[in-house]
Symmetry: D2
Subunit: 379 residues, 4 copies
C-alpha cells in the first residue's frame, strides 16, 4: 500500500476545467491518490466519471454529507485525509464547514466564501481544529512569483514605495452589450455570484498577489467600479486606489471588458533600491530593475533563484512550465503541511488569504456605493 495522501474531491466532474487543473496538480509529485468524492450532482454521471478516474465504486458518494459520514467510519489510515472543494462559490462555505468539523483538511477554490462573515467563521473552526486549509490562488505557485516574494522580503528592492497591479480580461465583452445575455449569465447574477463580479472573480487574485509579494497589508481602498449598463448592478470593471500601512500607494485595476485581453495579470513593485515586475502570461520571467544598472531578466530553474523558487521548478531552465505546474506546486506544499514535513508559508495560500480576499471584495463595493471614498480593511 502506497503512502500517498488520500484525496477526496467535491465537484470538478465532466468537462470541468477546474477539475482537470486540480487532478493534474495533485498527481504531479506523486504525493496524492484520489480515493473518493462527489464529482457531479447527478449520481449516474458521478459514478461514470469517477470510474473513469479508477475509483472504487464504494467511495463514489451520492452527496458530500454522505461522503463525510461514510469516510469517517473508515480506518484512519484508509480514510480521506484532505478534500478539494471545487464546487460553485456558494457551496464552499457549507462544505468546508462540515469538512473541518469532521476533521478533514481542506483545499478550497477561491473565493473562499460568498461573505466575509462566512470566511471569518471558517477561520475560527479551522483554528480550533488546527487543520490544514489551503485556498487555491493558483498563480501564487509560479516559481517566479515565489522568487519575487523572496527577493522583496530579502530587501533586494528596499522599502516599497509604489505598487501597480492589474488583472485584465475581455471575456465579458461579447456578453455585456446584449441585454438578454447580460441578464442571464450566472456571473452577473448576485444571487449566484455574490455582490461583485469582476472584483470577486479576478480583482481578488490581484489583491492576494499584491499582499503576498510585498509582504504588506493593504490598509484602505478607494474604488470606482463600472457596470456599463444600468439594468445590471454587478461590476465588470474596477479601478481601485490602494494604500498600505506605510507611505506606499498604488492601484489595482481589474476588468472583464478589457476587450481582447485574456488573463493579463501583472504586478509591478517599486522600492527605494529597485523594482520587480512579473506577468502571468509569460510566467517564467521576472524583471529586476534598478536606477542605473542594466535590467536583469531572471528565469525559472536557475541556481541563482531562491530554493523555494527552485523547489517549484521540475526541469532545467528553458523548459517552460505553466499553470498546471503552478497549481502542482501548491499541492506539493499542502502535502508537506499535511504530512508535517518542513515547509514555508509561501508554499500555499492559507485561509487567512481567503479571509482577506472576502474583506477586500466587500470594502471595494462599499467604497464605490458610498461615492468612491476611502474604506479601511480589517486588520
Amino acid at each position: 500500500m502506497s503512502n500517498k495522501i488520500r484525496l477526496g474531491i467535491l465537484g470538478g466532474g465532466g468537462d470541468s476545467l477546474i477539475g482537470v487543473l486540480h487532478r493534474v496538480a495533485s498527481s504531479m509529485f506523486d504525493r496524492y491518490e484520489i480515493v473518493g468524492g462527489v464529482f457531479n450532482p447527478n449520481y449516474p454521471d458521478n459514478v461514470a466519471f469517477a470510474k473513469k478516474l479508477g475509483l472504487n465504486e464504494s467511495r463514489i458518494y451520492v452527496d458530500f454529507e454522505t461522503m463525510i459520514v461514510e469516510e469517517s467510519k473508515l480506518d484512519k489510515d484508509e480514510r480521506i485525509e484532505v478534500v478539494s472543494v471545487l464546487t460553485p462559490n456558494f457551496l464552499h462555505y457549507p462544505m468546508a464547514k462540515q469538512l473541518l468539523e469532521n476533521n478533514f483538511n481542506v483545499i478550497c477554490e477561491k473565493p473562499l466564501t460568498t461573505t466575509y462573515k462566512e470566511a471569518l467563521d471558517l477561520k475560527k473552526i479551522q483554528e480550533e481544529k488546527n487543520l490544514v486549509f489551503a485556498v487555491t490562488y493558483t498563480y501564487t505557485g509560479y516559481p517566479m512569483v515565489r522568487q519575487m516574494t523572496k527577493m522583496i522580503s530579502n530587501g533586494s528592492i528596499g522599502k516599497i514605495q509604489k505598487v501597480d497591479a492589474q488583472y485584465l480580461q475581455g471575456w465579458l465583452n461579447p456578453v455585456i452589450h446584449e441585454k438578454e445575455k447580460r441578464n442571464s449569465t450566472w456571473r452577473l447574477d448576485p444571487k449566484k455570484s455574490g455582490i461583485s463580479c469582476c472584483v470577486g472573480d479576478i480583482g481578488t487574485h490581484a489583491f492576494n498577489m499584491v499582499e503576498l509579494v510585498t509582504g504588506m497589508k493593504v490598509k484602505s481602498v478607494l474604488a470606482d467600479l463600472n457596470t456599463l449598463y444600468d439594468d445590471n448592478p454587478m461590476d465588470i470593471d474596477a479601478n481601485i486606489l490602494i494604500r498600505f500601512s506605510t507611505n506606499a500607494k498604488g492601484t489595482i485595476r481589474s476588468s472583464q471588458i478589457a476587450t481582447g485581453e485574456e488573463n493579463n495579470l501583472r504586478i509591478n513593485v517599486y522600492g527605494e533600491k529597485g523594482a520587480l515586475k512579473w506577468e502571468q502570461e509569460n510566467p517564467n520571467y521576472l524583471y529586476h530593475l534598478t536606477d542605473d544598472a542594466p535590467m536583469q531578466v531572471l528565469k525559472s530553474g536557475h541556481s541563482y533563484n531562491d530554493e523555494i523558487s527552485l523547489d517549484g521548478t521540475k526541469l532545467p531552465p528553458g523548459h517552460p512550465e505553466g499553470i498546471f505546474d503552478s497549481m502542482g506546486n501548491i499541492y506539493k506544499g499542502v502535502a508537506r503541511a499535511i504530512r508535517k514535513e518542513t515547509f514555508q508559508d509561501a508554499e500555499f495560500p492559507s485561509i487567512d488569504d481567503g479571509v482577506r480576499g472576502m474583506d477586500f471584495i466587500e470594502k471595494t463595493v462599499e467604497s464605490n456605493s458610498k461615492g468612491n471614498i476611502w474604506i479601511e480593511l480589517n486588520n
Copy 2:
C-alpha cells in the same frame, strides 16, 4: 533665396537636450531655416553658440524683447515667422504673450504656462490674432500614435469603454530619499516648477495622449498624489481615476519614483469591438486586439496605415524612427499651417491642448488636497 520658413529660437543653447531636439526636428523636412534667436541668457555664450549654428551675428539678440523689436523692423519676407520657446516653464507665458501680440507664430514647449489662467489668456490672444500656435507634446508625432487616433475615430474598436494610461519614470528616486537633494532640485521647488512636479511634467503628457487618441474629453478626475516625505509638498507620484463624458472610465498613473523605469508612457484603449495598445519606448508598433481573432501588430511605414501616419514615416517598414522623427513630424505639420497648406488637426498639438493640460494639473492637485474627491474639468 530659399523659401524656407524663418525660425527664431528662445532658449535651447549650450548642451540643452530640448535644444537639440527642436533643431534636428526643424531641419528634418527642409522646411525651416534658423535665422535668429536668444539661445542663452549669457550674451557671449549666446553669440558663440549661435555662430556655431551659422547665424548671422546681427540676428543674435541680447534678450527676447530686443529680438521682437528688431525683427519687427525687418521686411516681411525677411523677418522671423515663427519662434520656438524652449525656456524654463515660467518664461513661456511672458514670451509667448509678447510674440503673439507682435504677430509671430509660436511653437511652445509644454507645459504651456504655469497656471490655467495664463493659459486661457494666451488662448484669447492667439484667437484674436489668428496665429499658428503649437504646444510640443512630442509623443503625439509618432506615426503609430497618429494611426491609433485615426483608427479610433474611424470606429475600428467601437465605442470606448475603458482607458488605461501610464507614464512611469524613476529618475527622481536617487534624489528623493536625501533631504538635502530633494529640497534643492528645481523640479521640486514650487516657485520654479508650479504646483505640481509629477503631474505637471509627465502626467500631462499621458492626459494629452488620452484625449488625443480617444477623441473624448475627460470630464472629471480623482487623484491620489504621493510625496513620500512631509518636508516637500510636491507630488512625485500620482494615481488618478478619470471619467469621460460617456460611461467610459479609466486611470492615469504617473510617477517619477517608479524605480528603474525610464520613459514608460503607455496607453491602452478598450472599445466594444476591439482594443489598441501603444508604448512610447517601442514606438513603431501598435497592437490591435479583438475578442477572438489573433492580435494584429501594426508597424509604421506600411501601406495599411492611414495617410497621416504614413506622412510621418520617412523610410520603409523596418527602419526604426524615434523621438527626433516624432518631433520632426510636428514641425512638418506646423510648417504646413504657417504656409496655409492643407493639414489635419492631428498633425500637431494646439494651444487648446496646452490649456486642457493646465486645467488637468490644477484639478488633479485640487482633488488630492480636498481628500481625493471628484473634480470636474472645464469644458
Copy 3:
C-alpha cells in the same frame, strides 16, 4: 476496475527529470495507470521508488527481461499494454526490440537508437507486429506547433521557399574549456553517446520539427561541425545547410556552446504567401507574417485554431501551458492509437520520425568528415 491503459516504465526512477516528465504526462488526461516497471537498475532503490508511486510489489521487476516474461503470463486485461522506455540511449534498441517481439506497444525516448541500422531493424519488427510505437520528440506536442503544421498543410503560407531552424543551448560551455571535464562527460564520450553529441541530442529535434511542420522531407545536408578542441572528436556545435526535394533551402543551426542560451529552439518557415514563426521558450504564441498585412499573433486555446491544436489545450486562452502539457498531448494521442480511437498522425511522432532522425545524424557527421560536402538522406 478502471479502463485506464496499463503502463509499464523502464528507467526514470529517483530524481530522473525524464521520469517526472513522462509520469506527469501520462496522468494528465486520466488515460493511463502505471502498473509495473523497472525504474532503477539497483533493485532495492527500484522497489522503494516504485512503492512511492503506489505500485503493487509483485510488478516491480528486477530487470526488463523479467518484466516481459512475467507480464506476458498475466491475463490480457491485466497485463501491461504499453511500455515507456526512458533508459540511456544505448538501451533503447535492445529493450524496444524485445518489447515489440513480445507484443507490447512502445513509447520510446529519442534518439530512437544509436545507429540508423538499428532504427531500421526496429521499424521492420514494428511493421510486422503492427504495434503502436511513439518516439517522444516532446516539443511536437505543443498546441501551436500543431497549429503551425496544420496551417502549412492547409496552404496558409503557400509553397515553402525557405526554412530557418535553430536549437541553441549553452550548457556545455562551462564543461568544454577544461580538458579534464570535457573528457569525462558521458555526452562527449562516443561509446556512450553515439557518433554525435550536439546533432544527436538537439539537432535531431530541430530536424524533426522542420520535417513535421513543413510536411516535406530534407533531401540533402551539408554540415560544418565544431569541436573547439582537438582532443575530443564529438561535435558540440553544428551549422547545417539543408535542401528539400523542391527548390526550398534552409539551415539548421544547433549548438551546446551558445553561451547563455537555454533551450532556444526556433523554427521559421517562409512560403510564397506568408510565413510562420515559433519559439519553444514562449510556446503559446505563433507568429503569422504576410507581405503587407499586420503580423498576426495566434495564441493557444482560441477557437480560431484548428481542432488538433485545441485538443492539446486544457484551459482557455491566457493560461500558459508548458512542456509537461506538451508531453501530455503526446501521451493522449498514443492512448487513442492504443485504444483504436480516431486520431491524427500529427498527434505523436512515430517510429518513422525516429528512423529519419538517425539517418540525419549519420549523414550530418558524414558530410562534415568528408570536408563539408552534400550528402543525400535516404528516402
Copy 4:
C-alpha cells in the same frame, strides 16, 4: 561665417529616401552645411530641388565633373570639403575616384563599387591622398552596436566561439514569382546591380557588422545561394557558412524572400564567458547573456555604456532613437576626422570596410558557382 563643414551631395534628389537620410544625418549635430551638389541628372529638376534646400544657384551643378572643376577654383575656405555619393552603385567608382584625385573627402553609400578590383583601386588612391573616406554601413552608427563592439574588444564575453548573423527581408517576394516582374526589376539585372542581388545588397551589411563587432576577420566562406527560378541568375536568398581565423565558426543568412520580414538584421556573438545579441529593429537594446546569471538588458543612454556609445545618444534613456540618429552618428565621426579632432575608428566605417565587402560578395558567389565549396577571402 559659420565654421560648419562644407558638404556637397551627388544624387539623393526628389523623393529619394537615401537623400533624406543623409541630409537629416548631416544636420543632426550642427557640423555640416550643404553648399553645393548635383541632386538629379535632369538639370531643371536639380535646380528646383537644390533651391528648396536653400542652395546658392551658382553651386547647383550640371554634373559631377563640372562640380569638381568649379569647386576646385574656389578658395580653400569656401569650397566643398567633403562629398556624399548617393548615386546608383555603378556610379560610385567613377565619382569617388575623381573626387579623391581632386582632393575631396568622400562619404560613399554601400556597396563601395561594383567589383573588388575597383574597390582596391579606390583604396590605393585614398591612401596616397590621405583623405577621409567613409562607407555608410548605416547600422554601425547605432549606440548599442558601438557598445557591443566595445564590450567584445574589452573581453566582456571572452574568446569568441560562435557567430550567428542574419539579415532577412521579404520585399522581393511579391516580385519574384511573376516572370515579367522579376526580369524587369533593376535589382535583379546583373548589368545594373552587379553579380549579386541579395548578398550584395544586404548580406554585406551582415558581413560588415560581423567583422566590426567581433574585431575578427572572416577567413573563408561556403555559400548556398537560391534563385528560386532558372530564368534569372541573381541570388535572392543566401545561406552562408563562415569561418574565422581562429576556431570560431558561424553563419550569415540573408534573404529577400523571407516573406513578411522587413529589415530583420540580427547578430549574436557567443564567447567563452558570455554572449551579446542585438537586433536592428529594436536597436536601443543589447542583450548580455552568461552561463548562470540573469540576462542583462542594456539600453542606450545609460552611464554604464562606453563613452563611444554615449557619444551616439542625444537624449536620456527611454527616448528611442532610430536609423536617422544612427546615420547622424556616422556623420559626426566623419566631421571629427575631417577637422582632425580626436575620434575612434569605430565611429564610422572606412574604405577598408568597403573593400572587404566587395571581396565577400565575389567570394560568396564563387563558392556557390563552384558547388558550395570553401573559398578564402583576401587578407
